[in-house]
C-alpha cells in the first residue's frame, strides 16, 4: 500500500513519461533527463541538508536528501514538459526550480510552483528552451488516463476542487468564444481534449504546498489562472499561455492566504491512519 500521495504522483508521472517516450514520438535525449534529475536532487540536497547543516540546523545523515519526493516530482514535471538543446539549459531549469522554493518564501511558504518556475526561467534566460503544447495530441485514451490518475492523487490531497475550477472556468470561456465566433462544436472539443492542458490542470495547478490554503481562495486563484491562460492563448496567441499565467499569478498566493486563513497543507497531515515518518 502506498502511504504517501507523492509516491503515487511519482508513479503516475513516471508512467506518463514512459508512455510519452514510447508511443508519442518524443525525441528526448537521456542525458538531458539525467541532467534535470541530478540538478533537482542536487539543489534539494544543497538547500535542505547542506545549507541548514552549515547554519547548525541540520539533522540526519550528510548524504540524505530531505523531501526528495518533491524534488523527484519537480524533475519528472520538467522532463515531461521542458525541451532544450543543451544540458546547461536543463540544469538551469532544474536547479532554479528547486532553489525557488527557498528563495521565494513568504511566511515560510513558497508560492511559485517549482517546475513552472524552472520552465519560465529556461524560456526567458536561454535561447534554446521550448515547451511543446501539441506533444500529447488529443486522443481520448490519454484524456481518460490523465483524469483517472489525477483523480486518485487529487482526492488524496484534497485539491480536486482546484482542478475542477480551473478546467470549468477555462472550458466556459472557450465555450463562450466558440459560440460567439460561430465555430462548430468539434473545434471546442479539440481544444479541450489537449493532453497538455489536462496535465497542467491536474498535476501543476494543484500543487498543495504552493497554492492557497483556504478553499475559497483556491477557487478564486484557479479561476484567475484559467482566465489569464485563456487571454494569453486566444488574444495574444501565446501557445504556452498556461505556464505564464501560473507564473504571473503565483505571487497572489500569500495575499489570498492572508485574506482567507486556513491550516497549511503538509504531506504528513495526509498520513492519518498510517504510520509515517516526518518527511519535511
Amino acid at each position: 500500500m502506498v502511504k504517501d500521495a507523492r509516491i503515487a504522483q511519482i508513479g503516475f508521472l513516471l508512467l506518463f513519461l514512459l508512455l510519452g517516450l514510447s508511443s508519442r514520438d518524443w525525441t528526448i535525449r537521456p542525458e538531458l533527463l539525467a541532467t534535470v534529475g541530478i540538478s533537482c536532487l542536487g539543489t534539494q540536497w544543497l538547500t535542505r541538508n547542506l545549507i541548514p547543516r552549515w547554519r547548525g540546523q541540520g539533522a540526519g545523515p550528510w548524504w540524505g536528501v530531505p523531501g526528495w519526493q518533491s524534488a523527484v516530482i519537480t524533475a519528472l514535471g520538467l522532463c515531461l514538459l521542458l525541451r532544450g538543446n543543451h544540458a546547461g539549459t536543463m540544469a538551469l531549469a532544474g536547479s532554479g526550480a528547486i532553489a525557488s522554493k527557498s528563495l521565494f518564501r513568504i511566511q515560510d511558504k513558497h508560492f511559485f510552483n517549482p517546475a513552472n518556475f524552472g520552465i519560465i526561467l529556461a524560456l526567458v534566460l536561454t535561447p534554446d528552451a521550448w515547451v511543446s503544447p501539441g506533444q500529447w495530441g488529443t486522443q481520448a485514451w490519454y484524456f481518460l488516463l490523465f483524469i483517472a490518475a489525477g483523480g486518485i492523487v487529487l482526492r488524496w490531497v484534497g485539491r480536486w476542487d482546484t482542478s475542477m475550477v480551473f478546467l470549468g472556468t477555462y472550458g466556459a470561456l472557450e465555450a463562450i468564444r466558440t459560440v460567439l465566433l460561430g465555430w462548430t462544436v468539434d473545434v471546442y472539443f479539440h481544444k479541450l481534449m489537449s493532453g497538455s492542458l489536462l496535465l497542467f490542470a491536474l498535476f501543476m495547478v494543484t500543487d498543495p504546498r504552493s497554492i492557497p490554503n483556504a478553499k475559497q481562495a483556491r477557487w478564486i486563484w484557479a479561476g484567475a489562472i484559467a482566465w489569464l491562460t485563456f487571454l494569453l492563448q486566444e488574444q495574444l496567441f501565446i501557445s504556452t499561455g498556461m505556464f505564464w499565467a501560473l507564473f504571473f499569478l503565483a505571487p497572489l498566493t500569500p495575499l489570498l492566504d492572508f485574506l482567507w486563513s486556513a491550516p497549511r497543507f503538509t504531506w504528513q497531515s495526509l498520513g492519518r491512519g498510517f504510520s509515517l515518518k516526518p518527511l519535511n
Binding site: 508519442r24 514520438d25 525525441t27 525541451r83 532544450g84 538543446n85 536561454t126 535561447p127 534554446d128 528552451a129 521550448w130 511543446s132 503544447p133 501539441g134 506533444q135 500529447w136 495530441g137 488529443t138 486522443q139 460567439l180 465566433l181 460561430g182 465555430w183 462548430t184 468539434d186 473545434v187 472539443f189 479539440h190 481544444k191 489537449s194 495574444l236 496567441f237 501557445s239
Partner: protein, 458 residues
C-alpha cells in the same frame, strides 16, 4: 503522378558530392552518408498544396503555390488573412523556388556498395570534412457592397493577378457579395467564413487578369506571396475543406532563424526513416514512399502532422538537391539575409558559407473529421536535424574466393530477409510480392541441418 528526378546533371552532382563526403569518413560515420539515388517530389501526392512560411518574430512571408490546373479565367482564390494587406505587401513569386525547396527537402533514397569480403578495405581515419557548402553567390465602394456589409479595403493588380482585400461584417453578406461578383463558392461557406470575420480577419481574394496573363511569358500561374506582421502563426485550412472531397495533402516549408517549427494544436510526428530497404525499391521509390506515408498516417489515427525534413539550410547530407543560394532564399521570402540592423542576432558571414536559415518540412494530410481547427505553429529552439532517408545496400556480386565468402553470403541473405520484413511492416505490401521481387543473393536453400554444426562440416 510525376517524377522529375533523374536529370543526369543533377544526379551527377549529387553522386559526386556523396562520393566526396564518403571518402573522408570513418567507417562508423558511414551510416550518415551514401549515394543519393532518388527522391520523391511533392507532385507525387495528388492535389498536394505547397506553402512556404518564413517567420521571424511577428514578421511573416507566406507563399502559396498555385497548382491550379483549369482555365485561367475560372481561377479564384479566397484566403483569410489576419491583417489588412496593402499593395506593396503582395507579390508574385518564382515557381522555380518552390520546386527547389521541394527537391532540397524531399525524402531520399541512398545506396551503399558492399566491398569484396575477400579484400576488405582498410579503415579510413580521416576527419569528417566540413559540411558541403554550395556556392553562395551572393476605392470606390459600391452602394450594394455597403448594404451587404462588405468593404473593399484595397484593390490592386500584381503580376497576372487582380487582388481585392475585403473586410466584412457578416458572413452571409460576404457569401452573397462573392456570388454576385461571380466567385463560385461552395455552399455552406458562410458558416466557415463567420469565425474569421468575427476575429477581424480580412479576406484576400485573387482572380487572374487574363490580359496580363496572356501577355506574360509564363504558361502557369505563379505563386502568390504576402508579407505581414501578426502574432498569429497559423494557416487557415477550414475554408479549403469545403470544396474538397476527402483528404488533402499539404506540404509546408517553414523557414526560421531559430530552429524547427512544430504544430501546437496537433501532434508533429517524424515519418519513418533511416532504415535499409531491398534493392528493387529504387525502381519503385515513389510507390514505396506513398505506401509508407499512408501506413504511418493510418497508424497515427489520421490526426497528426508529419515531419519530413528539418535541417540547417547551409548544408545537406546526402543532398537531394543543392541547398538554396542566398538569392533563392530571398525569393522564397527569407527577408533577413543581408540585414545589418541592430536586431540581427547572428550576423551572416561574409562571402557565403553558413546561411542563417533553418527549414522544417511538414506534410499534413487532413480531412474534416480529424482536423477541426486551423493549423497553429510555434518556432522552437530545436536544431536537431532530420530527414526521410532510406538506404539500399548493394551486395558484392563479383567473384569471391576465400573462406570469408561463405559467411558473407549468409550475412547478406539474413540482411535481405530483414529488409524484406521491414518493408512489409512499413508499407503494408504483400509479403509474397516483396519476397518475389527481391534479387536474392544466393538461391534459397534448404535450412542447414542441425547435425552439420555438430560435426563441424560445411
Amino acid at each position: 503522378m510525376k517524377m522529375q528526378l533523374n536529370g543526369i546533371g543533377k544526379k551527377a552532382i549529387a553522386l559526386l558530392l556523396a562520393v566526396f563526403l564518403c571518402l573522408g569518413l570513418t567507417p562508423s560515420a558511414l551510416a550518415f552518408c551514401g549515394f543519393f539515388v532518388a527522391q520523391i517530389d511533392a507532385n507525387l501526392f495528388n492535389e498536394a498544396s505547397q506553402v512556404i512560411i518564413v517567420r521571424d518574430g511577428d514578421r511573416t512571408v507566406l507563399t502559396m503555390a498555385n497548382d491550379y490546373q483549369g482555365a485561367a479565367e475560372d481561377f479564384a482564390l479566397v484566403v483569410p488573412v489576419p491583417v489588412l494587406l496593402e499593395e506593396d505587401q503582395v507579390n508574385v513569386g518564382d515557381p522555380a523556388v518552390l520546386q527547389r525547396l521541394d527537391e532540397y527537402s524531399a525524402p531520399r533514397l541512398v545506396e551503399y556498395f558492399d566491398s569484396n569480403p575477400c579484400h576488405p578495405p582498410r579503415p579510413r581515419a580521416a576527419p569528417m570534412p566540413a559540411p558541403a557548402m554550395m556556392e553562395m553567390d551572393a476605392g470606390a465602394v459600391a452602394e450594394s457592397d455597403r448594404s451587404l456589409g462588405v468593404t473593399i479595403e484595397a484593390e490592386f493588380s500584381v503580376g497576372e493577378y487582380d487582388i481585392l482585400i475585403l473586410s466584412a461584417q457578416e458572413s452571409t453578406g460576404l457569401e452573397t457579395w462573392l456570388r454576385q461578383n461571380n466567385y463560385r463558392i461552395p455552399t455552406g461557406a458562410s458558416a466557415v467564413l463567420q469565425p474569421y470575420i468575427r476575429q477581424n480577419f480580412k479576406f484576400f481574394v485573387a482572380k487572374v487578369n487574363l490580359e496580363e496573363f496572356k501577355a506574360g511569358e509564363s504558361q502557369n500561374l505563379r505563386p502568390l506571396m504576402m508579407a505581414y506582421e501578426s502574432p498569429r502563426f497559423m494557416l487557415p485550412i477550414r475554408l479549403g475543406m469545403l470544396n474538397a472531397q476527402g483528404e488533402q495533402d499539404l506540404i509546408i516549408y517553414l523557414i526560421t532563424r531559430n530552429g524547427q517549427v512544430e504544430l501546437t494544436n496537433y501532434r508533429t510526428v517524424k515519418i519513418p526513416s533511416e532504415f535499409d530497404v531491398p534493392e528493387f525499391v529504387q525502381d519503385e521509390f515513389p510507390d514505396f514512399y506513398q505506401a509508407a506515408f499512408q501506413k504511418a498516417y493510418e497508424r497515427e489515427r489520421k490526426e497528426v502532422g508529419f515531419l519530413e525534413y528539418a535541417w540547417d539550410m547551409s548544408w545537406c547530407d546526402p543532398c537531394a538537391a543543392n541547398p538554396l543560394t542566398p538569392d533563392e532564399l530571398r525569393k522564397a521570402g527569407v527577408f533577413w539575409l543581408g540585414e545589418t540592423s541592430a536586431n540581427q542576432r547572428r550576423p551572416n558571414p561574409p562571402g557565403g558559407g553558413a546561411v542563417d536559415a533553418f527549414i522544417t518540412r511538414l506534410h499534413v494530410r487532413y480531412g474534416r473529421d480529424r482536423f477541426p481547427e486551423d493549423l497553429a505553429f510555434q518556432t522552437t529552439g530545436n536544431r536537431q536535424i532530420f530527414q526521410g532517408r532510406y538506404i539500399i545496400r548493394r551486395p558484392y556480386r563479383g567473384e569471391m574466393k576465400c573462406d570469408a565468402a561463405a559467411d558473407y553470403r549468409a550475412q547478406v541473405r539474413d540482411r535481405q530477409e530483414r529488409e524484406a520484413n521491414q518493408l512489409v511492416s512499413v508499407t503494408g505490401w504483400s509479403k509474397t510480392d516483396v519476397f518475389r521481387k527481391i534479387d536474392w543473393f544466393t538461391e534459397p536453400s534448404q535450412p542447414r541441418p542441425w547435425w552439420r554444426n555438430l560435426w563441424d562440416r560445411r
